[in-house]
Symmetry: C2
Subunit: 280 residues, 2 copies
């Protein structure tokens, strides 16, 4: 794995963590950050996540041979298109967006011939925002999903795989559609439920919440802008996953309505088995 | 606050934590535990949570002047009735059950004249079980709800209030019905949702979960037996709270269906405000 200039577009929690991890492992000669606010770029530089900051995409694209987009999902495809025309031959572009099919299809056949895109999604993160929460170990022992198409350049896929492996992550390949169907169930619907639960709490009952409510709603503190984008980009799969959840919730409701003790216990035992298997 | 002999019925996480806290603060001359398994009692004694263990309720009731029931909610009322006939004059009985109206009404007018019951619920706990997870500080800076009736003996209420205050807890008084309505929203429905979410996860997607899914479903690892009891005892309020949640979930679903970006962001922002206010 050798990168000349790595450009990280969006130096928040994910982008900042990538920068810290790359610099600690000396995976690139130079790490540059691209952001909309000078303040964030300065902060990322002070934290040691990037060497230099750029407010514009074009000059960063011109000097980078490897670019990773860590911006909100609904901005990624447009930004990649803007960047790609400025990239030099052989540049590899990837991203860290939580929904993949829309991005990948928006880029299909629209990039310059010698610029290659590989969709990616590291399953790591936090409800926290900003480079001040960045962590060089955020991706260690985590899973990163890459979503190549049949037409994806094999060498670019190899470079992106090597990149995440070097950051300590395992890498798994799926189609963008498989990814989006799975993540709707494992991430997007949980976020929706946590938000609906937090949103349904009457203000006067805040003091009657304990650690259970706080755990269950923790991710509802995530960035509304970011999550609006994820939900809209993955809308059909999120709705389908919500139906699947609803089915299970209705099993609970039916058992409760009929006061079916054995069924209720069975449902709770099944849920406990699943949860216990995930570990803490 | 001075207790001669404190009897803790059920020496699991909550009972064990009460024992540790009482002994550390020297709030009772003697702490005895009542349990169904000698092994748990021995463990609680080794951990310093109790001085002696009893497998039977009657002999413990005879020597205790303050009893606290930390058994599953659906057993508490029956056990209190069994214990009360053996209690000496002036004994105070309380509990730590997560649903209150059924227990309190089952005991109404059925206790011996000089034995007083005050319903209680410390808002502290964990998905973990057993005295090995007990923590002397579990109740510090937490809230304990007491649910007296108009006819509840004032001195008994004072003693139970002093007990929890001495363990570091704040104490708030509510009617059993107010408690159950509130906790359905802040604890019981969150548990139901976490369990339904865990239960709806296809086995092959386990590896695609990250910290968000784990946080949101953490409480689904709780004891199925215990929670079956809570759900059934508080069934009407849990169903009503579920309807309230459903209303909010449908707001999200409608915004998603109509791809109403502004509304989705608004709902997520509202949820974030609520969650941010709760702290980590």
């Amino acid at each position: 794995m050798q990168i000349g200039t790595l450009a990280i577009v969006g130096v928040g929690l994910i982008g900042g963590s990538i920068g810290l991890a790359v610099k600690r492992r000396r995976l690139a000669e130079r790490v540059i950050g691209v952001g909309r606010r000078q303040e964030s770029l300065d902060q990322a530089r002070r934290l040691g996540a990037i060497d230099d900051g750029f407010l514009e995409l074009a000059p960063a694209a011109k000097v980078a041979d490897f670019m990773i987009f860590c911006t909100p999902v609904h901005r990624i495809a447009g930004q990649v298109l803007d960047a790609a025309v400025n990239c030099s031959k052989g540049a590899v572009i990837t991203d860290a967006g939580s929904a993949k099919a829309t991005i990948v299809s928006e880029l299909d056949g629209r990039l310059p011939r010698d610029v290659n895109f590989v969709g990616g999604h590291p399953l790591a993160g936090s409800e926290k925002r900003g480079p001040q929460h960045a962590d060089a170990d955020l991706f260690r022992d985590r899973l990163t999903i890459l979503t190549p198409r049949r037409q994806t350049n094999a060498e670019a896929l190899e470079r992106v795989t090597a990149f995440w492996t070097a950051l300590g992550s395992r890498v798994k390949t799926m189609t963008p559609e498989e990814h989006d169907r799975a993540l709707a169930l494992t991430s997007h619907v949980p976020h929706l439920l946590a938000s609906a639960l937090a949103g349904s709490l009457p203000a006067e009952l805040s003091e009657l919440t304990a650690s259970g409510f706080r755990d269950t709603t923790r991710i509802a503190a995530g960035d509304p802008e970011l999550w609006t984008g994820i939900f809209l980009q993955n809308q059909p799969q999120v709705l389908a996953a919500l139906d699947r959840f609803d089915y299970q919730l209705n099993e609970f409701r039916a058992a409760l309505l009929s006061q079916d003790e054995a069924r209720l216990r069975q449902l709770l035992e099944q849920a406990k088995r699943v949860r216990d298997a995930l570990g803490s």
